[in-house]
Amino acid sequence: MRVELREIHKRFGSVHANNGITLKVTPGTIHGLLGENGAGKSTLMKILNGFIAADSGEILLDGKPVTMTSPAQAVALGVGMLYQDPLDFPALTVLDNFVLGCSPALVPDRRRARRDLRDLCSQFDFTLDPDAHVSDLSIGERQQLEIVRLLWLGARTLVLDEPTTAISAQQRDKLFVALRKLAEGGKSVIFVSHKLEEVETLCDEVTVLSRGRVTGHAQQPYSTEKLVQMMFGQDIPRVRRQVQLVTTAEPLLRLERVTVSDWRLEIRNLNLDVMPGEVIGMAGLEGSGQLLLLQACCGLRPPTSGRIWLAGKDVTGQSYHRLRAAGVAYMPAGRLEEGLIADMTLTEHLALAEYQGGFFVDWPQAAQSAARGIERYHIKGQPTSRVEELSGGNQQRTLLALLPSQLQLLLMEHPTRGLDVESAEHIWGLLLERTQQGTAIIFLSSDLDELLDRSDRILVFFGGRVSAPLNARQINVEQLGELIGGKGFGGGGADESRG
C-alpha cells in the first residue's frame, strides 16, 4: 500500500509537535522514521492511525485521500499500528485477543480463527500457543500476536512504534525477519525508532524528524554520521566506562547461595559479591531471571533459601520498606504502572519520595525539590505538571529524579529506556556520580551497548541460570549476544525452564 502524509500539522498547546511533515512510503519497503524523543514521530503515527486528529494536512492511501477518525477505521482502511506498550488484554487467552478486534458476527468463529492464527504464525516462524494467557507471554511474543492480529484484520501497512525497546535481541531478530517477509510480500512497514543501528540494518529508506520537522531523507546504504547529524545536528561521542574500583575488604552486597523463584522460573544457589561503587549489568532475554534477582535484592521477593548481606548486615527476608530505609532503591520499568502516580504533580511525587517523617507536608520545600529535579534531570515540565502530561522520556527522567539522594544500592530496570543518546549520556553521568560516592548499581537492560559501556561486570541470565560475572571490558557485543542466546550454558533452552 502506498502511504502518503502531506503537510501534517499538529499542535499541543505551545508545542508544534508536527510542523508540516510530509512522508511517502513506497509499497513493499520498510520505511524508517528516525528521531530523538519528542521529535514528533509518535504523534505523526498516531495521526496516521486515527488515534488523534491532525490540525491540518492530508492522508492519502494508494493515492486516495482519507479521513481517519479512529484506530478501528484505520485498520479497516488497511493501516495497523503496534504501540510502544502492547495494548492487549493480559487476562484473556491468545486466541481471545486475536479475535477481539473483529467479529462482525455475534459469536466469533473460533475454529477458523485458530486455524488462521496457526497459519499466520507458521508463516513468520512465531510460536504462539492459542490457549496461553497473554499475561504469561513476553513483550516480544505479545508483539508477535499483535502483528498477526493486525494482518488478519487486513492491515496492508504496519506501523511499529519503537518495537524493540522492551524485547530481547533474539526476539528482535525474529521480528526483523518477519518485517522483511512482509515487505517482500508487498506490504508497507513503517518502523519508528531512535536507534540508529536498527534503522540502518532494517530499513530501505529513512525519514529523519527533529523538533516536529523533517530534517532529512536517506536510502541504503547509509552514512551513520549523516543520520546522526540529521537527528541531532552534531556528533555525539560515546565513552566507555573507565573507572578504577575501590576494592575494600568488605563487599557492599553479598549473595550467599541465594535461591529465588516465581511460578515459572528459579534462580538457584547464586553467589555474588558487589563492591561499593560497582556497576553490575544484567543481560539476557526478557524474563530470564534478571527481575527475580533485582526483586530479591530490594525485598520485594524474599529468597526461598540462602542469605543476603548488605554492608556486613544480614538483611535476608527484610521488607522492601526496611531495605529502602537502609539505602536500597528500586526503579521499576513500568512508568505509569508502578513508578509514577497519574493525576499527581511532580511536587507531590517529590513530597512522597522524600518523606523524612513529620506530619505536615512542607509544600514550598517539595516544590523546590521538584524544581531541582527538573533542572538536574532536564525534565521538560513544571513542578505543577501532572506526570501523565509528560512524554515517556520525561517520565523516565522523573523516575530517576525520585530516587533518594543517599543510597547504598541502586537497582534499576532499563535505566534509560525511551531516552535518546544524548539524554542517556546525561543520565549515566549522574548515575556514575553516585557510584563515586560508593553507591553500587545493578541494572538490567536489553541494550547491549548500554550494558557493555556502563557496567564494570556483567551477569548473563538464561532461563534462570546465571553466568559468572564477566569483566565488561574483556567482552564484545558478539560474545555477549552469543551468551544471551544460551551459548555456554550447556543444553536446554529458556523455553524449557518456563513452566
Binding site: 519528542g38 509518535s42 520498606h321 499527581m344 512522597l352
Partner: protein
C-alpha cells in the same frame, strides 16, 4: 474548557435533575410547585423545622468526613451504615453501664469514645477482610452492614429488652439528663452535634491538603503499586483510613443516640441511611472536602423537608431520596461529560509520547 462553560455545564446538570423531578411529580398528579414549596417549608419554614434539618446535618457531616478519607485512598466503604450502627450499639452499651454511676457529662463523653471505638473496629474488620482476606470492601461492607443490623435486633429483643415489652421498637429510652442540651428551648438541636460535625470535616480537609497522611492516602487511591514502591506503607494507611472513617461513623452513631431530638434509644435501622447519604455527598463534592459542608446541609434539608410531603400531600417522603439520587446522577453524568471534553483539551497539553 472555560470556567464559564464548566459552570454552565454543572448548572445544566442540576437543572436537568430538577426537570426530571418535576416530570415525576407531574406524573403523580401533584403540582410540582406545591411539592417544592412543601419541601422548602418543611426544611426552613420555622426555626424549629430548621433545627431538625441541623440534627440530620450532623450525622451526614460525620459520615461524609470519614468517607472523604476512604475515598481518597480509593476504597469504597459501603460498610459505613454498619459502622454507624455499631457505634450506636457501643454508645448504648456504655450508657447502660455508666448512666447510674457517673455524672451525665462523663457518661456522654465515655459513650462518645465507645462509639468511636465501635465504629472503628467494625470498619477495621472490613479493612482486614480486604487486605488479608481478599474480600472486596464493597462486599465485606455489605455483609458487615447486615450483621450489625441483625445485632441490633438481637440486642433489642434479647439482652437489652425493655421490661414487659416484646417489640423491636427499641431499647429503654435514656433519661433527659443523657440528652445533648438544645441551643435554645424549643430549638431542638445541640451546639455539640453541629460543632463535632463541622470540626470533623474541617480536620479531614486539612489532613488531605496539608499532611503526609492525606498525601499518602491520595497516592494509594490513585496507584497502589507506585505508592508502595515510593515508600508508602500502604496496608497501614488503608487500615487507618478504614478505622478513621469508622470512628467518625461511630461518632455519628453517638449523635443518633444522644442527640437533642433523637429517639434516645437503640433501635433497628438507627443508621437511617445517613451513611449512604454521606456517600452521595462525597460523590457530589467530588473529593473537595469543603464542598461537602453545604451539600450535606442541602441533602439534610431535602430529607427533612420531604417529610412534609407525606403529611400534607399524601406523597411518600421517599421522594426526597429520589431527588437526592437524581441530583447525584446528574452531577456524575456532567462529570463524565466534562472529562470527555477535558480529554480533548488535555490532548493539546500532553506532549506526544
Amino acid at each position: 474548557m472555560s470556567r464559564a462553560a464548566d459552570w454552565g455545564l454543572r448548572i445544566a446538570g442540576i437543572g436537568a435533575a430538577l426537570l426530571l423531578v418535576t416530570l415525576i411529580l407531574a406524573a403523580l398528579g401533584t403540582s410540582p410547585a406545591q411539592a417544592f414549596r412543601l419541601i422548602w417549608d418543611g426544611a426552613v419554614g420555622s426555626p424549629a423545622k430548621f433545627a431538625y434539618v441541623l440534627t440530620a446535618w450532623a450525622p451526614v457531616l460525620l459520615c461524609a468526613a470519614g468517607l472523604l478519607l476512604t475515598f481518597a485512598a480509593g476504597l469504597w466503604n459501603i460498610g459505613i451504615e454498619g459502622q454507624v450502627v455499631m457505634g450506636a450499639i457501643f454508645v448504648t452499651g456504655m450508657l447502660r453501664l455508666t448512666q447510674d454511676v457517673l455524672p451525665p457529662a462523663a457518661a456522654l463523653f465515655l459513650a462518645a469514645l465507645a462509639g468511636i471505638v465501635g465504629g472503628a473496629l467494625w470498619a477495621a474488620l472490613a479493612g482486614v477482610l480486604r487486605l488479608y482476606g481478599q474480600v472486596n470492601e464493597i462486599f465485606g461492607g455489605l455483609g458487615l452492614n447486615f450483621i450489625a443490623g441483625s445485632l441490633t435486633v438481637y440486642l433489642v429483643l434479647g439482652p437489652w429488652k425493655r421490661a414487659g415489652i416484646g417489640s423491636t421498637s427499641g431499647t429503654q429510652p435514656f433519661p433527659p439528663k443523657l440528652w445533648l442540651p438544645p441551643i435554645l428551648p424549643g430549638i431542638n438541636v445541640s451546639l455539640v452535634e453541629i460543632v463535632v460535625g463541622l470540626a470533623a470535616i474541617v480536620l479531614v480537609c486539612l489532613a488531605l491538603r496539608g499532611t503526609y497522611f492525606g498525601l499518602r492516602l491520595k497516592a494509594i487511591g490513585k496507584n497502589l503499586r507506585s505508592a508502595f514502591l515510593l515508600g508508602v506503607p500502604t496496608e497501614r494507611h488503608m487500615l487507618a483510613a478504614f478505622a478513621l472513617c469508622g470512628a467518625l461513623a461511630g461518632l455519628a452513631g453517638w449523635v443518633l443516640v444522644v442527640g437533642t431530638s433523637s429517639r434516645h434509644q437503640l433501635f433497628p435501622l438507627i443508621s437511617g441511611g445517613y451513611g449512604f447519604l454521606g456517600i452521595l455527598v462525597v460523590l457530589l463534592a467530588n473529593l473537595n472536602a469543603l464542598w461537602s459542608i453545604p451539600i450535606s446541609l442541602f441533602f439534610a434539608a431535602i430529607s427533612m423537608g420531604s417529610l412534609q410531603l407525606a403529611l400534607q400531600a399524601q406523597l411518600d417522603s421517599s421522594l426526597g431520596g429520589v431527588i437526592q439520587g437524581l441530583l447525584v446522577l446528574a452531577v456524575l453524568i456532567v462529570g463524565g461529560i466534562r472529562s470527555r471534553l477535558a480529554a480533548a483539551s488535555s490532548e493539546r497539553t500532553a506532549r506526544s509520547r
